[in-house]
Symmetry: D2
Subunit: 344 residues, 4 copies
């Protein structure tokens, strides 16, 4: 199974060659640690160019790290955080948000991983009542964990309600690049301009070795450097984190990678549509394909292409494409499915 490009996750892929080259390019001499180096400083400038001058930039190691920095910075332990039930912070971080922030998460059932104002409203009670955790943050994921994408208008609507209720809007952007490609808009239009207050911007799933960034928009960030350090997310040899983002944001690498992954997901979905036993369950708006497949197919397929079951009861699986997915991978996989179905 080793080294086959599969559909388990976009973090099963490797590092984009341009990113490796960028790393090698800064590997000379000494540099002050913890971000006071030239490479980090010029990458911060790059982020400010993309997201606006009032953006504050904090690099972290991984998505969970970025998310819990964002949470600790904006909420206090007696607050609650409203998010979709499928949110990474709710189901994929082993309770890190609760442990680090002390807060309660209020998970909302959704059909497509996307929160609506109406969903949020149903949790807006007990305000000012000391017996209830006080809602202070709404967290949405763009693109969602189900491969769907919020429109800019949808984000604005949520942000409007959130701010009108004295709360903050967090965006988990582990796959923000895929969403930007999908919407055909800039990062800025989809985040700060739409009312996002704090963003976890992902690199790992789009071709980096590791690395995420927390971006604060128009916020007081005096505490954040301490929070990052105390959360064990401060890299000493920071230039190696920063330079990966510099590469990603240069020559449109982020766009090329995400765009390719999205196209591959579309192709996979298209080819699957011809197989009547497979039912695609979510609109394919970024780089994931969710499908209900015959349950006896799962294990035989996984033996050759590892992937995750999304919902055991429904026999629903998740297939992710990546910057390095090739059409031949898709053909191989689709053919395998057909073969296994024929041999039942």
């Amino acid at each position: 199974m080793s080294n086959i490009r599969g559909f388990a996750s976009d973090n099963n892929s490797g590092v984009h060659p341009d990113v490796l080259k960028a790393i090698a390019s800064v590997n000379n001499g000494h540099a002050v640690g913890y971000g006071d180096d030239e490479v980090t400083q010029r990458t911060i400038v790059k982020f400010k160019e993309l997201f606006g001058e009032t953006t504050e930039v904090f690099f972290a190691y991984n998505g969970t790290g970025a998310n819990v920095i964002a949470l600790q910075a904006m909420v206090r332990p007696y607050n609650s955080i409203i998010c979709p039930e499928t949110a990474h912070i709710n189901v994929d971080e082993c309770g890190a948000p609760e442990k680090h922030s002390g807060c309660k998460l209020l998970p909302v059932k959704t059909g497509n991983g996307k929160l609506t104002v109406s969903d949020i409203k149903s949790y807006m009670h007990g305000i000012g009542f000391e017996h209830h955790s006080q809602p202070k943050m709404v967290s949405i994921t763009q693109a969602t964990e189900l491969g769907t994408v919020y429109s800019v208008e949808e984000i604005k609507e949520i942000a409007g309600y959130v701010h009108a209720n004295n709360m903050y809007l967090h965006m988990d952007g582990a796959r923000l690049s895929n969403a930007a490609v999908s919407l055909g808009c800039t990062f800025k239009e989809m985040t700060v301009d739409a009312g996002v207050d704090v963003l976890s911007f992902g690199g790992t799933k789009n071709g980096l070795m590791y690395g995420e960034v927390v971006l604060f928009f128009n916020q007081d960030v005096e505490a954040v450097k301490y929070i990052r350090k105390q959360t064990a997310q401060l890299h000493s040899k920071m230039r190696y984190t920063a330079v990966q983002f510099e590469a990603l944001l240069s020559n449109n690498l982020w766009y090329r990678n995400a765009s390719h992954a999205n196209v591959m997901a579309q192709k996979l979905a298209d080819k699957l549509k011809s197989i009547p036993q497979i039912k695609i369950t979510q609109p394919v708006e970024s780089n994931g394909v969710f499908a209900i497949i015959p349950s006896d197919l799962i294990e035989p397929l996984q033996e050759e292409f590892f992937f995750y079951v999304w919902n055991d009861e429904k026999s629903e699986v998740r297939w992710m494409t990546s910057f390095d997915t090739q059409e031949e991978d898709i053909d191989k996989f689709v053919n395998l499915i057909k073969e296994k179905l024929n041999n039942r």
Copy 2:
């Protein structure tokens, strides 16, 4: 100042070329995430060969991360942790140990960064008394933050006392390689064989891009994978962390790097001895040199070679050497000192 090899910290150095090569060597195809890949598995075997079969291996991003995983795994919030006042966990992690573990740290003043049984004893009161945090862990650093090194006998003595009192011994081995070189012993002799229960083994300061490992010796580690994940220290593309350690543990790279750094520290110390205005304050047993220097010298020197002041009141500074320190760097630095002294 950029790119000059200075003496600020061994984490200001870059990545050893062999490590970069190793990274490139695994950059093909896909690999299952989070450590279930071949590279990670074979690196774990390598650690078991070095530290013994009952060693359990957990990779982390950085030293603070490794330390707080170790702490959370072994103690509970009502416990206390005895350590030297100069311990990294006490003064360099922005309170991460307290925040993550909920525990009290009991910092002990020492002259040389090394704890003794007698130091520990002075905190062993109120045992069983619910009003007091219950001492459950002793944490020592090898090599210490002051560049000194515990002998194997000293570690054994501490471990004996610690275990006789139903506690655990943690070793912060951010510079364990430098200590091993200094003592001329194996990692195993200095750790598991000497009674260490859990070890933070450092890579970053000895030539890696990032990466530390927590090693548990003969412990129940069922909870640790969850603790690591919840602490935001689980790398998705784990092969890139693991392969760096594989490189470090291959071809004696760890030894060559640490040995070189130690020799460079000795040379620096030797050359400084001829300068009467400089007083070396700690035995140079690993890769650090601590010295009291004329206070008016500090800023002019820092302008050309950045380094940290260790103790403002005493005008004591810290100079660290690294795997890539060159004799010419030392000569340049010592000459600069002389020049600045002459021009006063």
Copy 3:
């Protein structure tokens, strides 16, 4: 409005006269603090008589305190706790469970405040998968926050499933006495004999000034005294807490108080049934009556008898009876309702 006996909460009532007398009876001389006194020791014996010899007894100040002691003792931060959405630990403790334990709560929607094995099962996935908080405790409330009561059989069924899955069963017994009266069984039959592992036993809502007890059944409680102290729930002048429970458990006071409150709730419900505009929404099995009432009635009623709205959208309210509720209070209240309805 002051001093009227209303239906807002059973904690709006005062202290039963026998309890006040008991307090006065121990108010002489000095006693060793923190529970090492005679009164506390003999009250512990009383609890062991009622719940069995292997019961371990820890007094606390209030219900939230008792619950978070129970949680911290049995689970670790990477665990999750399954409970009904209406559980006090989920909606009435301002996030104390998350803050103190670091755990995730998994709230389950129920119609009647009672959990079923099938509810629990739907959260039992991702076991052993480090990305998910690991379910380790199920918490049920007896009587529930909706005034309903689990049968002994229902508890046994839950306990069976919970233990088969290597988890613990916590019971929040803030109104345990009302449930025991309702079921006509002993405390023991409904708790330790039915498989409960840890119980928060309530006193405040049944006639005490303050005070709850955490009872552990067949558990290792070595850590609990430290947890209680660290949670700020250890009373120095413990005899005054203990003696209240001694009074409650003597001369069947607990039974008389709870029984009276339950009867009063029945009477209230019976009288309300004749009012067609009022719809009782839950079976009245303990001392609470839940009803949907015309929304324009709420404020006028509250002006004379304060009570809490349970569900704004449904115009559902909660009326609680207490050990000191009198039939005349009920008549007065029901007449008021009728009068307000007539005058609309």
Copy 4:
């Protein structure tokens, strides 16, 4: 041993009769819970009269509870709190401050339990440096755990330094009444007027059954009600807590109780002075007497009058007097000491 008035602790005494009477006086009818009742409101007014109009008042169950509410309200997890090594928050709360606040405590060795500006200064380094916990609060105890008392001038000096450095001054006033008597000043002069920002005001050790208050002076307290609830320190039947303080603050009861205890401590110290084998180690400024006594005397004395050993190595013990200590208790105790000494 039971019921003998000894010298173990001022919390071994009972409840002052006036306090019991006050409790009985509010035991009629129902009252809204959690502090929205008349008794609580008028007691809050009483505190405002004593401490000034901008005082905000939060009742809690015990001293540890009050302290951790104060801490959580004013500091964040990356902050540190400077206090004497002997502070209750440092050695008598089982790590509650670290657990609840996430902060690091910086304990300072002192001879007499009193902090000085010079002590504080020695910890004021690494400001703005993210690797260090940032000092944000100084906590002093009045009267100290060693029975000594800060002068108003000393407090002002500390407060001046604290505020000049952008920190807060917390006072643990578990025995504030004893200090006020000792200094002959008002509560206000010693606290808010001297620069204290937040005060834990103690009742339990001065004749209450239980109960402490956290007083904030000129602070934003919006978050405090949630913090208190989440810390499990919010009493439902609040009137019973409040009325105890009303009694304490009425008819000078606080003064009479504390004054009596102080006088008794003086008498005890005076009588001990005639015994050459006993060496009083601290000035007797409030209601505690610290003394080095022959170590073989400790156990025989404890068998008849229980008390705590303060320092095992030095054979130093602590004797506390209380509002109900009688001269005959002192005579009995001193005679016992003499007798035991003679019979050696």
